[in-house]
């Protein structure tokens, strides 16, 4: 039996009827067409389906759609504003942190959750924050460098806005 769920996705209110066993990643990908969130394992192992739930990174394959009721979900589609890449996205592009790109949306959202909380993380803190996001292509080095660069650029921007 389907149940009705109200939630916010990328700032927009959404109302959907879902089966109670439907996962958040299914809701996003199949019901809302937000295929930027990737499905890599279905077991919470790979992190490709990472989204932000009330600002915290979660594996959306391990969250039931009904658990998102009344909460704010943020996906990769919500990050670029007015056609401009978010500084984290821009740094991933500039630093060559993207190869096959399948881990990228989840990786970027884990990085965002980190930088929202800790704008100037150490390399170790970055590696820890993305350690739940598996990447088989890059060896992580350019991803770590991209997060460092994004951190610097975002700090610069913030300082600039206070002037």
């Amino acid at each position: 039996m389907k149940v009705s769920v109200n939630l916010t996705v990328n700032g927009e209110p959404v109302e959907v009827a879902v089966e109670s066993n439907r996962t958040l990643v299914q809701l996003l990908r199949e019901d809302l067409g937000l295929t930027g969130t990737k499905h890599g394992c279905g077991l919470g192992d790979c992190g490709a389906c990472t989204v932000l739930l009330d600002g915290k990174p979660v594996n959306s394959c391990l969250v039931l759609a009904v658990q998102a009721r009344g909460r704010e979900v943020f996906t990769i589609e919500g990050l670029a504003e007015n056609g401009n890449l978010h500084p984290i996205q821009q740094a991933f592009v500039d630093r060559g942190a993207i190869q096959c790109g399948f881990c990228t949306p989840g990786m970027i959202l884990s990085a965002k959750a980190l930088l929202d909380e800790n704008p100037k993380p150490t390399e170790r803190e970055i590696r820890t924050a993305i350690s739940g996001n598996l990447c088989r292509c890059t060896g992580y080095q350019k991803i770590v460098e991209a997060v460092q660069e994004a951190s610097e650029n975002m700090a610069g921007k913030e300082a600039g806005s206070h002037e």
Binding site: C41, L43, I76, C100, G101, F102, S131, R136, C137
Partner: protein
Amino acid sequence: MSELKVLRTRAPRLDAPAKATGRAKYADDLSMPGMLHAAILQSPLAHAKILSIDVSKARKLPGVKCVVTAKEAGLVRYGVSPARYDETLFAYDKVRYVGDEIAAVAATDPAIAMEALELIKVDYEELPAVFNMWDAMKEGAPLIHDAFPGNLNAEVHQEFGDTEAAFAECDLIVDHTFRNKRQDAAFIEPHSCLAVFDLDGKLTLHTSTQVPHYVMRTVAMVLQIPVGNVRVVKPYVGGGFGPKCEATPLEMSSSLLAKITGKPVKMTYSREQVFLHSRARHEFYAEMSLGVKKDGTMVALRNKAILDGGAYTSFGIATVYYSGSLLGGPYKLKAMKYDGLRVYTNKPACGAQRGHGGVAHRAAFEQLIDTTAEKVGIDPVEMRLKNIMTTGDVTINELDMSSLGMKECVEAVRDHSGWKNKKGKLPKGKGIGMACGFFVSGAGYPIYRSDTYHSTVVIKVSEDGGIATVLTGSAEIGQGSDTAMAMIAAETLGIPLDHVRVISGDTDLSVDLGAYSSRQTLMTGHATKEAAEQIKEKIKGVLSQAMGCDPNGITFADGRVLFNGGPGDFEKIRTMYIKEHRGWTDPPSGDYLTFREAARLAYLQLGTLVGTGKYKPPRLGGTYKGAAVGTSPAYGCSAQVVEVAVDMETGEITVEAMTDAHDCGLAINRTSVEGQMQGSLSMGLGECLFEEVKFDSRGRILNSSLGEYRIPTALDMPKVKSIIVESHEPNGPYGAKEVGEGAIMPTIPAILNAIADATGVRVNELPVSSERLFRAIKGVDKYEKK
């Protein structure tokens, strides 16, 4: 090389913004109205006769639209090498591993498809099974394929030079045995496809593959469709690393179900199915002897291999040849003997994975060099430098090192790692090790015997002359080939990179054998360059007439056209262009004629401006049996130094630093080259320290998830120092060659040599878990052949 404008830069990848925003579509992101969802029934038993299959209940389940078995699919045998077509789409007489495909279902909903699988009743008569290569080779072992007595899938015996005589003249002969474990490629995107049949009998298969061309041919053959009616389209692919190099039951059964139902059919493997399909790295057993002179000069190498192939051949014939042929360098040898066996077992089939066939034997060989150096009493770096090949050398098995920056790589990692201050001077528990390797820049021959071009490319210029679109069947799988081709096209045409688009991965666009054997930069690159040159020549012809000048004086750079190095009198052409495009927002301007205006003029005279390019290697290699495997127009090479810390109480290993130098010829895109190097190191580190696909006593995979099968995380990887060495490769486009696979070659032995340096013990079996190292340190068990 200073005149290069686009190549050798760090241009951001063309596909990066799409991937960073989630807009890039992968196979599982595709859907179509009325689409059915498919699922495959796989054997729960490792070896059993199929007595009967009853699908009647499954067919009656509401929502089920089609159920197929071997009865519907037919019994066309397929595989990778035509010499070993040993698979049928569905098992009909018996199953040979847990996961062997028996039937497929298409239904209106994925859950219904899964439910239908449970309603298919299969009666089995279980047969005795074999799960390791030693048991499989025993007399009286259960036979997996009737046509292959002794479960011997393939054997290779090669000798170059007189090995016996060469060993006789050696002062010292050192032996080594080594065993790796079955690895999974663990790409993050599971296989997925969407098959669509038009009413006129044409199939379009959207699929996550490295090789649209081979998939097209296999699907056509197995489903008995004219090959011209099959189009394979590759969307973005979430990693391949080898196992996506062949047609899968997922692709063939989806296509069959689409053909029968007339509806689009989609299927995606679960992560467990990715492990079951496998086709990843074999388990190898290596037995090796190296003969040297007192001064460390290498003379002779004896190499034996046994490969646990699993239930089918897949790429295995090539694999077992590569384990021998890829040891011919990068050291000079007087003689080399190789004996390789590939054995069937009741496990998922192994195939090609990054560094195909070479990785385990390279690991054994490079450890053997270290133990030999120790016995001779010279530094491992010096030992290698003493024996190393240089540009122009030909290996004992007739592989032509037309460029080889091996010495430069060794010196670079020695100097950048501080080797001289560290080797032999570190405290117990700290160690440093090094190793080398080389790899092909594209297989010299196609998988099927053919005179086909390996790559063709079409470049088409837009009507306004502003954009060049590269059309290619080559496969962007994350390695950056689209960007590399765009850069080659931009460089050749003399236009900025953002004036080039790439449409790729579609068999309707061109012939390209695909992303395997590290071939696309060199081969697709050649074809791209040729296509761009053809366009340039056409434009020059038209311009020389219009301007009344010598075509040889016309050059293109930065999107501008130069006449004998100057602007020339192009006013008439510009005026005409602007008149034609009155009201447009971007009229051409500046002191020089633009490429856009020139290409427009050419279009007005010639029609749509198209250039075509093609490439196939010349005849390569020797004439002995199996000489084709290992041949390539060029070889990349690399050296690495690894530093480890070992907890001598627990055996826990921390890789603290890695220094990597790779000779990729001209580095088309420096960032992408480093990305390939760093990714290779990470995959090698995982295989060395913790990756192993494990089975229970009945052939079922114990760790078919990315939680239990552990690949490196960001916390497992140290900071890597990546050094690009650029020799000039005469056979590569702009002097470029491979980096995608060769970079993994030294990683495992460099780590193992560092562990030996840190602990004083050698571990001859992967993965080097802390338990395995602890036991070795304490002398609890030595590796023994079963």
